[in-house]
């Protein structure tokens, strides 16, 4: 990175972390609507537009693969300054090949999830490095160009990333290319104050990107950006995966159950008493004090 102190960062300089979903199973499933090559040309035009808006703007691209994640492009490095597209495409091809070679034999049915939690974590690490670089730095934001369905096993990791982004006031924007909405990204954008968008017409992806996601954080205040639609914050129970309005929470591990249980299936605690309603019970006679 060039020394930051010589640059004059004003409040409209952005650092845009773009997370590109490269899950081959997903791209295969939407081949007819939006081939990956077409998607890339939209994204490349968008990245060029970002760098064009302000000469100090910085773009970092991270590929979210099926088996791994990696940095693809960083506009602040010397290679990133010239021959932007060639450089990016070369690295991306290397990445996709490597990702493929990591793939195990056992075939997957349907588009599996890609490793969003990994690329989010990497992006946040990079942003922390920018924060450390000095009092003046570009204003970071994360843009997830995502299509794969949510991976339930990533829930905790993604939520951890979301809360960390929220703490460092980094908005997570999401542009969902896939067929269905992503509950993870809806929550991510809602909690961090980013924009969540699911474009209707994928042919016009560049226009969506440039009108909604190109503006810097400072100018966003003056724009009418897509409003967060209703985000469903209801939980689903661990026992049947039903979405519930009211449920029982294990006081030890915070597992969610839809019915009253004798024993927690997650942590194995045995629940001694009837479910405590919120009328609090004084517990002086609860136990014979062992050490009184």
């Amino acid at each position: 990175m060039t020394p930051v102190s010589v640059k004059l960062y004003t409040d409209d300089v952005s650092l845009l972390m773009v997370l590109i979903d490269t899950n081959p199973f997903f791209w295969n499933s939407v081949k007819s609507a939006l081939p990956f090559s077409k998607f890339l040309s939209h994204v490349l035009a968008f990245l060029n537009a970002i760098v064009l808006l302000n000469q100090l703007n910085q773009v970092v691209v991270i590929a979210t693969g099926y088996n791994s994640c990696d940095y693809i492009f960083d506009s602040s490095t010397s290679e990133g300054q010239t021959q932007r597209a060639e450089h990016l495409l070369q690295k991306l091809e290397d990445f996709v090949n490597k990702d493929e070679s990591l793939c195990r034999e056992d075939s997957v049915d349907g588009p599996g999830f890609s490793l969003l939690s990994g690329s989010l974590s990497m992006a946040l690490c990079y942003i922390q490095r920018v924060f450390r670089s000095g009092p003046l730095h570009p204003h970071p934001r994360i843009l997830c160009l995502h299509g794969s369905p949510d991976g339930p096993g990533q829930y905790v990791a993604i939520m951890n990333s979301i809360f960390s982004a929220q703490r460092s006031m980094v908005p997570i924007d999401s542009c969902v290319i896939g067929a269905q909405h992503s509950a993870f990204l809806q929550q991510a954008s809602y909690i961090t104050g980013g924009v969540y968008l699911k474009p209707q017409l994928l042919d016009g992806l560049f226009q969506y990107l440039s009108t909604v996601f190109a503006t810097d954080l400072h100018s966003r205040g003056f724009l009418q950006l897509p409003k967060p639609a209703g985000v469903d914050f209801r939980a689903s129970c661990f026992c049947h995966k039903n979405t519930i309005d009211m449920g029982y929470i294990c006081s030890v591990c915070l597992s969610i159950f839809c019915k009253h249980q004798k024993k927690c299936s997650t942590c194995g605690s045995v629940f001694g008493q009837a479910p405590v309603q919120d009328s609090s019970t004084p517990d002086r006679k609860r136990k014979t004090p062992m050490d009184a």
């Binding site: 974590s121 990079y126 209703g230 914050f233 209801r234 309005d245 609090s280």
Partner: protein, 422 residues
């Protein structure tokens, strides 16, 4: 004071970020130029190297060592943590709190740290509640009731900052103990006492009160601001809390913040139980309803209690009408990292790091070069699971804020999966 030696290093380092708000109270009678030397203690940021030359202190490795110590104490394997906490902060506002050895005065410094602590506490323990008790003129006064909103506590506390009279530890403990006796059995009862005074002025036998606290499973911790006091130490020992004495403001901050992560749960302290909770949905925009918390008509953007359909402005809370605990799934998710901590990273042995071919050029997380200027390998750490290398800054960030290992997260099948969907 026991911590004196071990904390010397931290103290020296922390001097740097010493508050810059010089109130008029500090250093009266000194000239401005004198004060800059007296306050900044610039000589403390220098150290002597082997050849007797003065060098700036290597803050990075010092800070990292300090973090390591913190990590070792907190992530001791899979210990059950008390996630639902009911904590009373007891603040000594006796005459001693008016002392000006902390600038501008002890009580202002304490209030400032408590404010930061309350925010951090709710960030880490979204399902817990805090209340504030003050000690003044020999009596204890409950400033705020147990509640989950940081702003309301901070506002009340900032309005009540005057000091007078003596502190009575016994009155304070009696009050807190009676208040904490009313909370449900699954909650963890805790008191954090910020004690400025060197004595306690009690109406009766304080030993009995200590035993009473012990019997009702209240974990009492004390942070002293002046010197070690036997009764405080005894109280903490008996009730399973921790006792420490602050050396200066930055040390105080560190000690206070140690209480923000949930403490290990002691099995007999709280009974495992199922708690009935509601997950309210956000009301549609533009709907006009009267909220049950402020009793005002409001437009849109509230939550609706699933049991009694009352409108609530903020989560988490307890429904004013039917008493159901109301949370949203992110509140629960916020605590999960305490349950699934990531493994501490290991130091890279010098034999590996001296051979540049073994070492990747960049930190896996942030792409920072792992080579010092002059192509010497810088100190780095690696994750025992995914074998990726990280720089020290990322190490700290990953363990203290992110709670994900980017390396493990970005390789399939490399981690134990905990299934939970929001």
């Amino acid at each position: 004071m026991l911590q004196k030696e071990s904390n010397d290093g931290e103290r020296r380092f922390n001097r740097e970020e010493e508050e810059e708000d010089d109130d008029d109270a500090d250093g009266r009678g000194r000239d401005a130029w004198e004060r800059t030397y007296a306050d900044e203690r610039s000589w403390e940021s220098l150290q002597e190297d082997e050849s007797g030359l003065l060098r700036p202190i290597d803050n990075k490795s010092l800070y990292h060592a300090q973090y390591r110590r913190r990590l070792r104490t907190t992530t001791a394997a899979r210990i059950q943590k008390g996630l639902i906490r009911y904590l009373y902060i007891m603040i000594d506002l006796s005459r001693a709190a008016g002392e000006t050895d902390y600038k501008p005065s002890r009580m202002v410094v304490v209030a400032r740290q408590v404010e930061a602590f309350i925010r951090e506490f709710f960030d880490q323990n979204p399902l817990s509640q805090i209340g504030i008790v003050t000690l003044k003129d020999g009596v204890a006064h409950s400033l705020t009731d147990l509640g989950g909103s940081p702003e309301s506590h901070i506002k009340v506390l900032m309005g009540k900052l005057t000091s007078s009279g003596d502190a009575s530890l016994q009155n304070g403990l009696d009050l807190v103990q009676s208040l904490l006796n009313q909370i449900p059995t699954y909650g963890h009862r805790e008191v954090l006492i910020l004690y400025s005074a060197l004595s306690t002025c009690d109406p009766g036998d304080i030993m009995e009160t200590v035993q009473k606290c012990k019997a009702s499973k209240v974990r009492c911790s004390v942070i002293g601001l002046s010197a070690e006091v036997y009764i405080c130490k005894y109280l903490c020992q008996e009730t399973g809390g921790s006792y420490s004495v602050a050396l200066d403001e930055s040390h105080l901050k560190e000690l206070v913040f140690e209480h923000a992560p949930p403490p290990p749960a002691i099995a007999e302290f709280a009974v495992a139980n199922l708690i009935k909770m509601g997950f309210p949905q956000r009301a549609a925009e533009g709907v006009i309803s009267i909220c049950s918390c402020h009793k005002e008509a409001k437009i849109g953007g509230g939550y609706t209690c699933p049991r009694c359909k009352a409108r609530i402005c903020d989560l988490p809370t307890e429904c004013q009408i039917c008493g159901l605990t109301l949370v949203s799934s992110p509140h629960l998710a916020r605590s999960y990292h305490h349950l699934f901590p990531i493994t501490p990273f290991g130091d890279v042995s010098p034999s590996v790091s001296n051979d540049p071919r073994n070492l990747p050029k960049n930190c896996f997380g942030c792409q920072q070069s792992l080579l010092n200027p002059g192509n010497m390998p810088a100190s780095c750490v690696s994750c025992p699971k995914c074998k990726q290398y990280f720089c020290l800054d990322c190490d700290i960030y990953i363990h203290e804020s992110l709670h994900n290992c980017p390396g493990c997260e970005s390789f399939r099948h490399s981690k134990s999966v905990s299934t939970a969907e929001g």
